[in-house]
């Protein structure tokens, strides 16, 4: 199975209401709220592309863009 790799975490700052759901439940603590109470990806390199932030966001404000990584089954 080819593994999903992160291209970009896109956060719509106009739609994000700073509820912190994505921040709290991210398994690798990729996200944080900034001074404007908007979610930002501060550690994108730790993202495991589970997309749970995107699926749980009540404001449809977050999108995890991925691409197919190289095959990891040798």
């Amino acid at each position: 199975m080819a593994r999903q790799k992160l291209k970009e975490i896109v956060i719509n700052r106009e739609w994000c209401k700073g509820c912190g759901i994505c921040v709290h439940f991210c398994p690798t603590k990729v996200l944080e709220l900034d001074f404007d109470e908007k979610s930002v990806a501060i550690r994108p390199e730790d993202c495991i592309c589970c997309k749970m932030c995107e699926l749980r966001c009540p404001d449809l404000a977050i999108e995890v863009l991925t691409y197919e990584g190289e095959d990891n089954e040798k």
Partner: protein, 269 residues
């Protein structure tokens, strides 16, 4: 098609409070529709009144925003006249089971091919936090400052008893599971009921000291367990999630077509 293409983006950001579970239910539902590859033109969303009911304004389908408690009655009319369309009816707990309780049981009894979604935040969100038939005992509401004494309905048991042929429950925390269950519910031929536990941090959360949306979602995680799981077996006090009923029974529109065909034949002969 991307999920955003199913939205009326001009109405965003939406009106729901920060962390309101209703937004996550919209999110899960759109993904179900996307994964099923349904055409926007083949979907009718009918809703009543409440924070939950505002959902029909945000989707780029055919939509009817009707009267409090009457979404299923209007949906029944739509489905009977255009049985080839997918009719989806998201409702609040008050909308579906207080004022709309009678419509709910009779739609289930007829087994009409409609997907009913109960967005259960256990409170009247829109009108400021009155308790609902799904609040249960020992909760604080504006109409119960000394806590409720009313027992709640079990939506799943009620729907099954009334005749619904697909009945499931999930939560806003279990977003992927919600999407899976909603896909099956939409595909089911007959009356499907999906109860999705939602959170209203603004009224229910604040009055009942359940904290913000994050801690209310933690409760969805700790207070529920999957049907057939070890966790549920060990602790039957947990709320069960999963598919409770999935059966085939005569569907109302199909039976109605047969009656029309029969009546036409009688007239001719």
């Amino acid at each position: 098609m991307a999920v955003k293409d199913y939205l009326r983006q001009r109405f965003f950001p939406h009106m729901w409070c920060p962390g309101c579970g209703h937004g996550t239910i919209l999110n899960s539902l759109l993904r179900a529709i996307e994964e099923l590859g349904l055409e926007k033109n083949k979907i009718v969303m009918t809703s009543g009144i409440g924070c939950s009911s505002r959902i029909s304004g945000y989707v780029d389908f055919h939509s009817l925003h009707t009267m409090h408690g009457r979404a299923l009655a209007c949906a029944t009319g739509v489905k009977l006249s255009r049985p080839h369309l997918n009719v989806i009816v998201p409702m609040g707990d008050g909308d579906a089971l207080a004022i709309g309780g009678n419509h709910f049981i009779h739609a289930a009894r007829r087994n009409i091919d409609i997907t009913a979604i109960v967005m259960n935040n256990r409170i009247y969100g829109m009108t400021g936090g009155q308790f609902s038939p799904l609040s249960g005992t020992n909760i604080k509401a504006t109409t119960a400052p000394y806590k409720t004494i009313d027992q709640e309905f079990d939506v799943v048991q009620l729907a099954i008893a009334a005749g619904a042929t697909f009945v499931a429950r999930s939560t806003a925390f279990h977003a992927k599971e919600s999407t899976d269950v909603l896909k099956k519910a939409i595909q089911h031929k007959g009356f499907s009921v999906v109860e999705i536990l939602s959170q209203c941090p603004t009224h229910y959360g604040r009055k009942n000291k359940e904290g913000d949306a994050v801690s209310m979602l933690e409760l969805h995680k700790t207070n529920t367990a999957k049907l057939g799981s070890k966790a549920l077996e060990k602790n039957p006090g947990l709320t069960a999630r999963g598919i409770f009923v999935d059966l085939e029974k005569p569907e109302y529109c199909a039976e109605y077509d047969k009656i029309i065909a029969f009546a036409m034949k009688e007239k001719v002969s």
